[in-house]
């Protein structure tokens, strides 16, 4: 069993699996049980300023996208930050941290956008023993209408300003949580870095309407006949989150800035993917809300087994390993040529590849009597749609044409690496030297 101990911006935890700031981390009862279950750390549910806490709606606060077996693919929520008094939260945080010194405990914060408010809250959390703070610049609903959350996260100048206040008034490590509801994720990350952030975490939830009630004509979840957009999370958002993490990890301006990866982490494999793309650890919300705290046991055993297989002795060896292989389209090798091939022994003759290629791709699959499907190499452009829609694993594979072989589609001999930057069809191509 590989050791999963992870140090993230100086904060040590027995594994890289933290619970994200959300209902699972809303109170002492939950967090104690989460630590008992094995979670390496938690980011406490976002705290607001002193005074009467925010209120939540009293109707449903979640919308959901289900797969056929009611598998939860995505959840959207209209919950706000904690609706419990600040003092209660602080007392509980202190008590939990005292009993679980080896676990990471981060406090998530969201207060109005003025220096006094931030100075005040930072002073109040000082003696909880918490390991750091996370600035919630992500919440896309409710709080944003009041000039907080993603209303701040969408303006890089505000991010920089607030981060600087926090670094001025506190010695705690500071993570800035980014909203994905922005067109270029690198900009807020750069701002956080300029403000002195120790790390960024992403993504918070995505603006969304999960479904529309077709009898009452209102979005779900419906509160007394009306709905509002909520924040989307869970497995469905993972591809979006992965890309955003990779963009920050490989950008010259933000390279090396520690990242806590969030968004759809459901299994050890999801976590490993985030880490390979540069996340130093991961945070989980929806998976815990769907299956309970116990899933961390699968994450721990799965990641350890994987690291053993790979011979990694520390999670640091995994972090960022795939980053050098994330590149721009223009640098992809245009002379890398593959052809789909169908394993006739595995083929169950469903014909899905045929329908896909014939109707929507390149008419490169032949259907012969007896429901035999074969690829026409002279038509196949290697899009791999057939492979994607094939229900049988490994039945369709992509065969790489070795250099020197003729591509029957173009009649050209396969040659070495060459990309778009020097392609004759590119008007901007640099003349070959």
């Amino acid at each position: 069993m590989a050791d999963l101990t992870t140090t993230f911006i100086g904060i040590k935890s027995p594994n890289p699996f933290w619970l994200a700031s959300a209902p699972p981390t809303d109170k002492e009862y939950n967090v104690r049980r989460a630590f008992q279950a094995g979670w390496g750390g938690v980011v406490w549910k976002t705290l607001g300023s002193e005074g009467p806490p925010v209120v939540n709606v009293n109707g449903p606060r979640y919308g959901v996208i289900h797969g056929a077996d009611r598998r939860v693919l995505g959840i959207n929520n209209i919950e706000l930050i904690t609706d419990r008094p600040l003092e209660v939260n602080l007392r509980e945080i202190k008590s939990v941290k005292r009993d679980w010194p080896d676990r990471a405990l981060i406090i998530s914060l969201m207060v109005p956008c003025d220096e006094e408010s931030w100075k005040d809250i930072l002073a109040r959390i000082e003696d909880t023993g918490a390991d750091g703070v996370e600035l919630n610049f992500g919440c896309p609903h409710g709080m944003a209408e009041r000039g907080m959350g993603s209303a701040v996260g969408q303006v890089p100048e505000y991010i920089e300003m607030v981060t600087r206040w926090v670094k001025t008034h506190s010695r705690m490590p500071c993570i800035v949580k980014l909203t994905p509801n922005i067109s270029d994720i690198r900009k807020p990350a750069e701002a956080a870095k300029r403000g002195g952030a120790d790390a960024v975490s992403l993504i918070n939830t995505i603006n969304s309407i999960t479904s529309v009630n077709l009898d009452d004509f209102a979005p779900e979840p419906m509160i007394d006949g009306k709905g509002t957009h909520g924040g989307y999370c869970g497995p469905a958002v993972k591809p979006i989150a992965l890309n955003m993490v990779a963009e920050i990890a490989r950008s010259a301006e933000t390279r090396g800035l520690p990242i806590s990866g969030i968004g759809g982490v459901t299994t050890w494999r999801d976590a490993a993917e985030f880490m390979a793309l540069g996340a130093g650890n991961v945070q989980v919300c929806t998976a815990a809300m769907t299956y309970g705290f116990k899933i961390v046991q699968e994450m721990i055993s799965g990641l350890s087994d994987y690291m053993d297989r790979k011979g990694f002795t520390s999670t640091a060896e995994l972090v960022g390993r795939a980053v050098p292989n994330v590149t721009d389209w223009q640098f992809l090798n245009l002379n890398y040529i593959t052809k789909a091939q169908i394993d006739q022994d595995l083929c169950i003759s469903c014909g899905r590849c045929y329908a896909a290629c014939e109707d929507t791709s390149h008419q490169a699959i032949a259907m012969s009597p007896g429901r035999v499907f074969t690829v026409k190499d002279e038509e196949c452009v290697a899009c791999n749609l057939c492979l994607d829609v094939c229900p049988v694993e490994n039945c369709i594979t992509m065969r790489e044409l070795p250099q020197g072989e003729v591509d029957p589609r173009t009649g050209k001999v396969v040659s070495g690496y060459a990309n778009w930057t020097s392609h004759p069809n590119n008007p901007m191509a640099r003349a070959a030297e």
Binding site: A68, D69, I348, G351, R352, Y354, A355, M367, P391, V392
Partner: protein
């Protein structure tokens, strides 16, 4: 006096009263809403799907399953009924392991096909539960067609003809319509009076007049029918049964399996239906299996099904064979009856073992006897009575094309006609296709 499974002879009430309802309950109860979604999601929506080809009525299965998956079971039902108006009974009785589900690519892939029949039942039940008829009749054509036999073939033909605007007279010799749906199919496949409910629902198209208790040959002749109608469709089924041709066949308590099943299907109280303690069923098809299983379910202590050829040659599919053995039926293959013994009533049956050689089936000298106080013969049905003046081929009404008989203006389909399997769904397909041919004939004739 209370009887038990051990009571000698042929007696009613062998089981505790509550056992009958459980034994004859729906064998494949409807899927619940969640099961439906999971089952529907397993369909790959194959291109030119093999299941469709395997269905004699060519229902667009991937389409109807997708309609179910997207929450529109009534649209799914219309897809089904547009090809096969008897989609409801077919969902219950089709031996799908040899039809659509046998052809499902997931059967090839993992030995677990998409549950097509149960999904079909979900769709058809949903629409029929509203008692809604999904189609509207075309404007009346003024043409009159007689359909003889209200079994699956006749019903499918009558419905399609009525749909096209023709006036249909539907006669049947028996007091109720439905054919073997009502009098033959195993009780646990058509639980809840489904056959009559389906018949009533089907008649909802309008334009069909059902005349039960009227037999062709007995009450009126084919020529009479023809003179009063523009066309005639014969869906007579197979009314006769093959003889064993074994010594002692005429002893008491030796009867056609179809008679036993008919009585069972019509029984108001199954506990009142007498059944033997030791029952022997002779035959290897669906009828033999159904008779054997239902004899067990009525409380017979031992039921032995004896078939003269190998297990592989049995007409009943392996699924049906397994169903029989699971219900405690003992199956003996490669044995043929030679003598029925007993004093007045049958008491024992003597069998000779058989061997299949190139020259045919041979009886071996080795024999054995089975105790039997009731013997059901299920070795095939025959066309009876044969309508006058019609060409016969291989014991069935000779046809060309979509059911055209040797007599102009007379069509035939279902079990009574040549070709196709003797299955409900095949009868439905043949009835429908003959109706379309009749329709073209009638309308073509109209326009010279």
């Amino acid at each position: 006096m209370t009887n038990s499974q051990l009571t000698p002879g042929i007696v009613p009430g062998r089981l505790p009263p509550q056992a009958y309802a459980a034994n004859f309950a729906d064998i494949a109860p409807p899927l619940d809403a969640h099961e439906v979604r999971v089952a529907a999601d397993r369909c790959y929506f194959c291109h030119d799907a093999p299941c469709v080809t395997a269905c004699p009525t060519e229902i667009d299965i991937p389409l109807f399953i997708r309609q179910i998956a997207t929450g529109t079971p009534e649209a799914a039902a219309r897809t089904i009924f547009s090809q096969n108006i008897l989609g409801g009974i077919c969902a219950r009785v089709c031996p799908t392991e040899t039809l659509c589900e046998g052809a499902c690519v997931r059967e090839a892939a993992e030995g677990k096909p998409v549950e097509i029949a149960r999904l079909q039942r979900h769709a058809t039940d949903t629409l029929m539960a509203r008692n809604a008829h999904p189609f509207t009749r075309a404007a009346p054509t003024g043409k009159r067609v007689a359909v003889v036999g209200a079994g699956p073939a006749g019903l499918a033909a009558a419905h399609r003809l009525a749909l096209k605007g023709h006036d249909v007279t539907l006669l049947d010799a028996r007091p109720k319509g439905g054919g073997l749906n009502e009098y033959g199919i195993a009780a646990y496949k058509t639980a809840g009076g489904f056959a009559q409910a389906e018949l009533d629902w089907l008649m909802g198209i309008g334009g069909i007049t059902l005349k039960p208790g009227l037999a062709l040959g007995r009450d009126l002749t084919l020529a009479e029918l023809q003179s009063g109608h523009d066309a005639v469709f014969l869906g007579l089924g197979l009314g006769g049964v093959n003889a064993l041709r074994a010594e002692g066949e005429d002893k008491a308590h030796v009867l056609p399996a179809t008679d036993f099943i008919r009585e069972l299907r019509q029984a108001a109280d199954l506990a009142a239906l007498p059944i033997g303690r030791e029952v022997v069923v002779i035959g290897g098809g669906m009828t033999a299996i159904d008779a054997a299983v239902q004899a067990r379910l009525l409380g017979a202590e031992t039921v032995t099904l004896v078939y003269r050829r190998s297990k592989a040659a049995m007409g009943a599919s392996t699924v049906e064979q397994d169903h029989a053995t699971q219900n405690g039926v003992r199956i003996i293959c490669n044995a043929a009856p030679v003598r029925l013994l007993g004093n007045g009533a049958v008491a024992e049956v003597e069998f000779a073992y058989t061997e299949e050689r190139e020259t045919g089936l041979h009886l071996l000298p080795q024999t054995f006897r089975l105790k039997a106080d009731q013997v059901f013969k299920a070795i095939g049905q025959t066309l009876e009575p044969v309508p006058e003046g019609i060409a016969i081929d291989g014991g069935k009404i000779a046809i060309t094309g979509a059911g055209r008989t040797s007599i102009s203006g007379v069509w035939a389909g279902g079990d009574c006609a040549q070709g196709g399997d003797d299955l409900t769904v095949a009868a439905a397909a043949e009835g429908r296709d003959a109706a379309m041919d009749i329709h073209l004939y009638l309308m073509g004739a109209d326009h010279g």
